[in-house]
């Protein structure tokens, strides 16, 4: 009974005192989030969910119960609030069908070539120029980012950097840097570099390169950590230096996977570089943004087609190359 009273005062406390700390904390967390959401959303009906969790928690303090009821209540509440917060309204699509038609109808006649010829139209030339910029930016950023990722990967590989306290400190610094840099999306980096170097492909290139370096650096370091330690041991035993050991025992084991990951990244970078222009980073996205603003929907659909072709071709090529490497 004491446990029930404790849990009534503070959800999870009774369970906590019974020695079930994890359960107690989970109950408290579920109850607290349910309360916070309800108060923040400000509609009284939502109080039913924290109430259910609270009641269940008292019953559970007396005799352990199955967790499905409070879990379900919490999930229903989270989905409900999520739907309300996104202003979920399918009717909006139907009510605005006419506006949709105004946009979609011109899109059925993409403006890529002068009709009846294979000569690019005025807008079509910009589509091709944008695609060329996009492809160039992605290839250059992947190559340079991939090269820059290699030294970081070695410094961030635990198995190579556990020689002594200094190397371990370098390992932590490198790993932290990679994690931080990786957590900032290329698009956000692009917004910043547009401010620094101005509108254009170069800003997008810098953003993509930084993100590629961090993302590949992390993945590469995981490859290095997973290699077979046997050959490293054997090469060290011959009296080789650390560099010789890396060259003869580590590098042969990692080159195929590094290549496969880099090609996969090239694929991702090509996708990203099609939209990086939306924030001013150059490429097809830059022109696309202009055409959307100007309501030039025939050029918009022309760029859609071009982007789709590029992405599909990259997808196919990268999958084929990676399959051959394995």
């Amino acid at each position: 009974m004491t446990y029930a009273i404790l849990s009534a005062i503070l959800p999870g406390l009774g369970q906590f005192v019974q020695g079930k700390q994890a359960r107690g904390l989970a109950i408290l967390l579920a109850f607290a989030t349910a309360m916070i959401f309800t108060v923040w959303w400000g509609q009284l009906v939502w109080f039913v969910f924290p109430a259910i969790i609270w009641a269940w928690n008292i019953a559970d303090a007396i005799k352990p119960r199955k967790e499905s009821l409070p879990f379900l209540a919490w999930l229903v509440m989270a989905l409900g609030i999520g739907a309300a917060a996104t202003e979920f309204d399918l009717g909006a699509l139907a009510r605005n069908a006419e506006r949709g038609a105004i946009i979609l109808r011109p899109m059925l006649q993409p403006d890529l070539f002068i009709p009846g010829t294979l000569t690019p139209s005025f807008n079509g030339r910009f589509v091709f120029e944008g695609i060329a910029q996009t492809l160039g930016m992605a290839l250059l950023a992947t190559t340079i980012g991939g090269i820059l990722a290699i030294p970081f990967a070695f410094l961030a590989a635990r198995n190579l950097m556990s020689v002594n306290a200094i190397t371990r400190a370098i390992y932590f610094a490198a790993r932290t840097f990679l994690n931080l840099a990786r957590s900032i999306e290329s698009l956000i980096l692009a917004i910043i570099f547009v401010k620094v170097v101005g509108l254009g492909t170069f800003a997008g290139f810098i953003a993509l390169t930084i993100h590629t370096t961090a993302a590949l650096g992390k993945l590469f370091s995981e490859i290095i950590e997973a290699i077979d330690p046997g050959p490293m041991e054997a090469i060290s035993a011959t009296g080789a230096t650390w560099l010789q050991m890396v060259r003869y025992a580590v590098i042969p084991q990692i080159v195929p996977q590094f290549t496969a990951l880099t090609i996969y990244r090239w694929d991702i970078n090509t996708r990203t570089s099609t939209i990086i222009g939306l924030v001013g980073g150059g490429g097809i996205g830059f022109f696309l943004n202009q055409w959307i603003r100007n309501g030039d929907y025939r050029a918009v659909s022309a760029s859609f087609i071009a982007i789709a072709v590029v992405v599909m071709v990259m997808d196919f090529v990268s999958a084929r190359i990676r399959a051959r490497l394995n």
Binding site: G230, P231, A234, A237, T238, G239, A240, L243, R247
Partner: protein
Amino acid sequence: MLRVENLVKTYPNGTQALRGVSFSVEPGEFLVIIGLSGSGKSTLLRCINRLIEPTSGSIFFDGKDVTQASGEELRHYRRHIGMVFQQFNLVKRSSVMTNVLSGRLGYNGTLSTTLGIWSAEDKARAIKALDRVGLVNKADARADALSGGQQQRVAIARALMQEPKLLMADEPVASLDPVLSHSILGYLEQLNKNDNVTVLCSLHFLDLVHRYATRVIALKDGQKVFEGLPNEIDRAKFKEIYGEEAQDVSATRV
């Protein structure tokens, strides 16, 4: 040539792999270490060439204490000791030739070898080493294209490149089909008898010990429990080393 004194190894997790092991190896011996899995055989061998740092104790090689050696001194010491492993430890994606040449890394500069440049002399030496283990026609094959027995022979050729004074073998036949045991150990015996390379080898099977060893030491729970001639290991000694439940099995039942 090698003297181990009171060697102790305690792993960071508290496991006491070696609890004060002492023994010496005389030039020209084929000294075999026996004992159950986990008795400390692998740790002992790896402490000798310092792939694992011993916690305390001393190792004397040709009269010099090598427990404190580091940098170039350690590498030059390791150069004298060839090592063959249970899992062969070849670089699977590299060619047989590259694997054998890598045994010579300790004798060459970092820069040239990192660029993959090898002298004609070293290449000739590698061909000779491969010839000795009967694999000269496999020089250009990828290491993982070879069978287990062939890979272990490549590993022996790699150790040969070091022109070792001492050859250590950590369960060299345990991953192989038992019928190949004599092939591999035969190469070690040949090196021992013809080239006067001292051999220090851990083994599992008692009949192999009787066939190849000139002297035996036994480890149990990180301590030396026997030292003597192979024929001194009778049934009673065997039970003492391996425990009451142990049954002698034969490596080759032909």
